[in-house]
Structure formats: structure tokens, C-alpha cells
Amino acid sequence: MAWTREQMAERAAKELKDGFYVNLGIGIPTLVSNYIPDGMTVQLQSENGMLGMGPFPYEGEEDPDLINAGKQTITALPTTSYFTSADSFGMIRGGHINLSILGAMQVAENGDLANWMIPGKMVKGMGGAMDLVAGVKKVVVVMEHVAKNKDGSESAKLLKSCDLPLTGTRVVDMVITDLGVFTIDKEGTGGMTLVELADGVTEDEIKGKTEGAYTVALR
């Protein structure tokens, strides 16, 4: 038993607040927009130069001039505004975005994040990830608790320190995995704390699959 991708997205959506401006990464984070509570206003930012992202277009209504940062066709809303990439990252780096939800390969107990390259593999680039984690007020990582290796073994992703090249140092505030939720005191000395267990998951299971140190304060 553990959370599904949809349940992880639903859990991440609980970090949204009314009036928030939010940037969602590719994959599970994208699904978070399906769980915005009714009556709550959240504007989604797309770092290629748009605030107020709407849903995917109906078939036949795709506009090549209207894409998101994943290069997918999307739509606008009445609240939408467009701007340059420089202004978009000014918004991001300047701390104006309330929340960034993104995926990760590794997270360290101090909030270090690795999610852009694996040495020896073809490197595609960091895109906007380094700016987002450096600039956005609150950074939430949504990822599988462990990595499945080709030989069937598992590797911890919540580590003492990342061994992959970093995307940012001391940048992650919260990690939501299929097994539970951790907070990280990224600017202080409080370290990592396990605060929630997914349905049917035990503290022991998490203990066995987590390399980084953490305290437990379930709420």
C-alpha cells in the first residue's frame, strides 16, 4: 500500500492557498492542477512567459503560439498575461511565485536537490529548474520514495547528501513521496522531519527506505 501518482498530486494540492501563484513541473506536479479545491483561486505560471495557464485546448483549437514550459499546447484564461522570458524569471528569482512543485532524482536531508543530470548519460540541460528552486518561496518535491534500478534493486532518493550534480543547495521545503511527507528546515538546523504517512505505510517501511536522517513528528 502506498499513494498512487494521483494521491501524491492530491496531497501536494493541500499546499495550495487561495490567491497563490504557482509553478508546476512536468509529470506528477502537472496533475496537481486537477486538485485545486473549488472556490480557491490559484494562478499557474509557465516560465516561458505566461501567468494564468488554462487547460489543454479542445482538439482542433491548438495554437502553436500558446504553449507551456513543457512545450505542450495549452489555453489562456481571462486573467492571463504574457511576458518575456527575462520578466518571467524576474518574477521567479524575485520571490513573487508562492509555490513551486517539481520532481526530483535525489533530495538531501539539508534540502539539497538533484534533478537535472546523471553523469555519463546524455545531458539535456537544467531548463528553468535551477532558477525555480533558487527563487520560489516554497519548493515542494513530489517523487517516488526510492528509485528502481535496472537489476531490480532499489536505491534511496532521500539521502544524507546527494551524489548526483545539484540543482540547488538548501532549496527544498517539503518532500511528498508515495510513502509519506517530509518537511525540511532548509535555512535552519532543524533538518528533515517525517510528518505524514501514506495510507497503510509504517514508520518502519520508511525507515528502511530512507538514507537521510530525519526526526518523526506525525501530525
Binding site: N23, G25, I26, T30, L31, S33, N34, L44, S46, E47, N48, G49, M50, M53, G54, P55, F56, P57, Y58, E59, E62, D63, P64, D65, L66, I67, N68, A69, G70, K71, Q72, T73, I74, A76, Y82, F83, T84, S85, A86, S88, F89, I92, R93, M122, V123, K124, G125, M126, G127, G128, A129, M130, D131, L132, A134, G135, P165, L166, T167, G168
Partner: protein, 244 residues
């Protein structure tokens, strides 16, 4: 001063030379100056350093210049969508300098605005900061990044007037306006060429001072990289995200 040129080839006359640095606007295939890229390809100019957020896809956008091996080095933030790129890169034929997307955008803006360097939190403590000066301000650590300025910038706009004033459309704006400011010469291709006075002066994105040459490109089918749609009647449909 006539800024209007009859076609892409004419608009690049005298501007191209081997080893030069070219900025090319666009994000993915959105807002790319594809006709100008095709003219650069046809010119045969080589050993180019190209500054562009992405590298096109095979045969489209900057993918054209990669096919013909006219590019020596790319300065980009994400190059994931191009098999020929991967082949040349892994074969050591192509050099790449990765910049975080916001750092890339700001370096270009700085170059155009006479700012030789600035500090950003982005990339502090990562590979991106290696070999760069760092500095502490108010207890936080920052990396010094340099402005970028090119020999030539090529941009795509929706509308332009004969003075060179430009208006972009939706997310096709992206890197185009900064690049227009950050080169010795900027050439713009526009979907609609109009007379001065037809654009609202309050809503011009790129003032004509930045545009030395302008061409009207015929309307053609624009390419879509990731066609994502919802079925009519779908209640909930995720708005896509991404960090490329």
C-alpha cells in the same frame, strides 16, 4: 533609412561570417525565426556559436543548422528534443554551454542594457557556479554572471512596422525581445508588416531602435512540438507544467 528587405537572404546580406555568434529567439518551436534560420543554412556560414534556449528538433528550427554542421557551440538551457544534436554532442563534434533558463534570459537582457555582469542566487553551489566569482549579500550567496552580446540576433514577431517596432503574440514572445536588444545587428521576421502608426504606441514590445532590418514572412503552418488536447466534455483537464 530603409529597414525593410525583400526576403530572408537579402536581409542577411553582408552580415554573416564564419565563427560569429548568433542569437536566435524562440522557445521550443514557438516564436522561432525559422525563415531566417533557413537562410543562414543556405548561406553555408559555419563554426557558429548560437545562443538559443533550445536547439530545435531534427530538421526544424536550429535543427537545420545542426544537420549541416554549421554550429560549433550552443549556449542553451535545454536541448532535449534533437537526435542529431545528441549524436554530435556525444561524438564530441559540438560544444554546449548550459545556462539556467533564467540566467540565460537575464544575461541577454544585461548584454543589451549595458550591464556587464550581475549576481543571481541561481546555480549557487552547483556545477553552474564552477569557475565563477561568488559574493555574499545580506547573508545569502550569489554567483556573478556576465552579460551576453552577439554579432547578430534573429527574431520572430507577429507584427512589425517599417520603423522596426515589433509586437509579439502570446508565448511566442519568450526570448525574442531581449535578443533584439543584445546584438550588433538584429534582423526581424514578421508575420504582418504594417505602416508606422498602425501599432498602438503603448503596446509596442520592441522599439524600432533595436531593429536594423525587417522582412515580411508569408504565413505558413507553424509546427507544434507537443500536441496536447482535451476531449469536448472533459470536466477536469490538467494545465501542463514543465521546466524545460
Amino acid at each position: 533609412m530603409k529597414k525593410v528587405y525583400p526576403d530572408p537572404k537579402a536581409s542577411l546580406e553582408g552580415l554573416l561570417r564564419d565563427g560569429m555568434t548568433i542569437m536566435a529567439g524562440g522557445f521550443g518551436l514557438c516564436g522561432i525565426p525559422d525563415e531566417l534560420i533557413a537562410a543562414i543554412q543556405a548561406s553555408g556560414v559555419k563554426d557558429l556559436t548560437v545562443v538559443s534556449n533550445n536547439a530545435g528538433i531534427d530538421g526544424v528550427g536550429l535543427g537545420k543548422l545542426l544537420e549541416t554542421r554549421q554550429v560549433k557551440k550552443m549556449i542553451s538551457s535545454y536541448v532535449g528534443e534533437n537526435k542529431e544534436f545528441a549524436r554530435q554532442f556525444l561524438g564530441g563534434e559540438l560544444e554546449i554551454e548550459f545556462n539556467p533558463q533564467g540566467t540565460l534570459a537575464e544575461r541577454i537582457r544585461a548584454g543589451g542594457a549595458g550591464i556587464p555582469a550581475f549576481y543571481t542566487k541561481t546555480g549557487y553551489g552547483t556545477q553552474v557556479a564552477e569557475g565563477k566569482e561568488t559574493k555574499e549579500f545580506d547573508g545569502h550567496h550569489y554567483v556573478m554572471e556576465r552579460g551576453l552580446f552577439a554579432d547578430l540576433a534573429i527574431v520572430h514577431a507577429w507584427k512589425g512596422d517599417t520603423e522596426g517596432n515589433l509586437v509579439y503574440r502570446k508565448t511566442a514572445r519568450n526570448f525574442n525581445p531581449m535578443m533584439a536588444t543584445a546584438a550588433a545587428v538584429t534582423v526581424a521576421q514578421v508575420e504582418q508588416l504594417v505602416q508606422p502608426g498602425e501599432l498602438d504606441a503603448d503596446h509596442i514590445h520592441t522599439p524600432g531602435i533595436f531593429i536594423k532590418r525587417i522582412i515580411h514572412v508569408p504565413v505558413r503552418e507553424k509546427r507544434i512540438e507537443q500536441r496536447t488536447v482535451r476531449k469536448r466534455g472533459d470536466a477536469a483537464a490538467a494545465a501542463g507544467g514543465g521546466t524545460h
